[in-house]
Symmetry: C2
Subunit: 316 residues, 2 copies
């Protein structure tokens, strides 16, 4: 059988699981009482987001020489923190390019883990990252357009298959596609009865448009910058994630800003967990699809939100 | 060797662990990054608090006849929810007496689980419970002064011993003493190197006074009602918990209301978990004792807090 080389294999995901196991703990699925929905609490990692999985898998896959050169990455926040954290744990020099509209809590955390942080205009992040890599001979750690990253995020799928084997639906947020690309590859190739559904903010629905069109559709950073879900403002899916999404994902749906805020409130009250806006999007989608009585797992992708913003949403 | 019949045995705790296993999931220990402290996240149970453990152990220990008669309990909130939830799962009729100053979120949740809720003045809760038991032939499920309850809470200790065998300190909130009584019995009898330390609000320090005096000291409900930690307003330790505390607990320390609020903020920002005020008291104590760099587990006992109050604290 000919293999599409852009798809993440189950072997790669199982290898990632073994590789990252010493550094990344399994996260619990916490019930959203009294619904049938469970939240896969990726917010409970030390950096508060799922990105730790891909970052460790990518860094652990580097050769000796690459480790010595050091790494550079660009990210609005959680990938930044994840690469900085993993690099610190593995003793690798790390530079991070962040857009100047990044969440302050994510910026501070990235600095805390010892990364050399460079702030640039959002549109300049990728080009600045490439320039630094060239000038200083650094290895670029892609945020999502990478098989190593997706094999890492695929480990979420393996855990769900073990923790909740009778799940019927898994919903996940979509930004660059690294999360849902690996997750859906893990689940669809293990148990195709489970439907993986992507969820996006209406205000940043490039992935839904791409999915419907069958080809990559981009929004502008100004457009995607309108959503409160700061982790989902990437204006276009990566090519590799899109290849996996087309094969393994059932559909991509959208939610409003109000639905995102309401999901944050329900996660607080009914699961006693903290979701950043992007982290509540998958639950918002599950609720919109009427999955409260179905065996459903919604990925709570991260919990890094500024206290003032969070308080204003849940106290409303 | 003569056994003190008031002490919780390891056998009773292991039996409780086996009995409640089908109904109660293990909770994770979530790192308070970047400290050495882990939070035992008892807030992630379906009812948002540790009380589910004692409630299931007590109800599962009832005989057929007792189950048919139905149960009654009094509680300011989390025991109420726990008994209501466990009774519903086990098909047992349930009446709950709650003080009329109970947290609204706990009151509503208790009603949600189908309990017949009676609101009374705080000072009347125990006597009302006894009267209802007499009049309607109900079985009283004690909130804390019970070996069955403490054997249930002791299962937290077994989990800590397995999850974090190199812990040096475990801190836990103290109210009636059911949590720390069972917890300390489990830990001290398994690994006496680990020190179990109780933590109370300064404004409700009856347990500390009792511990120092070597005999039970009571405060008035008006006094203990001053603390924001609504779960810790019980004015006196139970006799059975006190017997265990005297033998198995290293010390009891107090924290201020500001320290409780600050611990709630740190749990939000550094562990992405939600603590009700009582649930943050153990961390507040660990921080006050300077245990940030020690291998320490702080019990996050519950996460049931009204959204408005919570928002006002973490947004401050």
């Amino acid at each position: 059988m000919t293999q599409n080389p852009n798809l993440v294999t189950l072997d790669a995901i199982h290898a990632a699981a073994a590789r990252i196991a010493p550094y990344v703990s399994e996260t619990p699925i916490v019930p959203l009482t009294p619904t049938g929905i469970g939240l896969k609490a990726e917010s409970l990692h030390p950096i508060g987001a799922f990105k730790i999985r891909g970052a460790f898998n990518a860094l652990l896959g580097l050769g000796e020489d690459e480790r010595r050169r050091g790494v550079v990455a660009h990210s609005s926040g959680n990938h930044a923190q994840a690469v900085a954290y993993a690099a610190k744990k593995l003793g690798i020099q790390c530079t991070i390019v962040m857009p100047d509209n990044s969440s302050r809590v994510k910026l501070e955390a990235t600095r805390y883990w010892g990364a050399d942080v460079r702030l640039v205009k959002a549109a300049m992040r990728a080009s600045t990252c490439e320039r630094l890599a060239r000038e200083r001979d650094l290895v670029i750690i892609e945020p999502f357009n990478s098989l190593a990253i997706m094999a890492g995020t695929g480990t979420i799928g393996l855990e769900i298959l073990k923790q909740c084997p009778d799940a019927r639906f898994v919903t996940a947020p979509v930004s660059g596609g690294g999360l849902i690309g690996g997750l859906s590859a893990a689940i669809a190739q293990s148990n195709p009865v489970i439907q993986v559904i992507g969820v996006e903010p209406e205000l940043a629905n490039d992935a839904q448009r791409s999915f419907r069109a069958g080809r990559l559709v981009a929004l502008s950073p100004d457009e995607t910058g309108r959503t409160i879900a700061d982790g989902l403002r990437v204006p276009q899916l990566g090519e590799l994630p899109f290849a996996n999404i087309k094969v393994f994902v059932r559909d991509i749906v959208t939610v409003t800003e109000d639905e995102i805020r309401q999901a944050m409130r329900r996660i607080t009250a009914e699961a006693r967990l903290i979701a950043e806006p992007s982290g509540a999007v998958a639950l918002a989608g599950a609720l919109k699809l009427g999955l409260e009585r179905e065996k459903t797992v919604a990925i709570l992708s991260g919990g890094n939100v500024e206290a003032g913003l969070y308080a204003s949403i849940i106290g409303a």
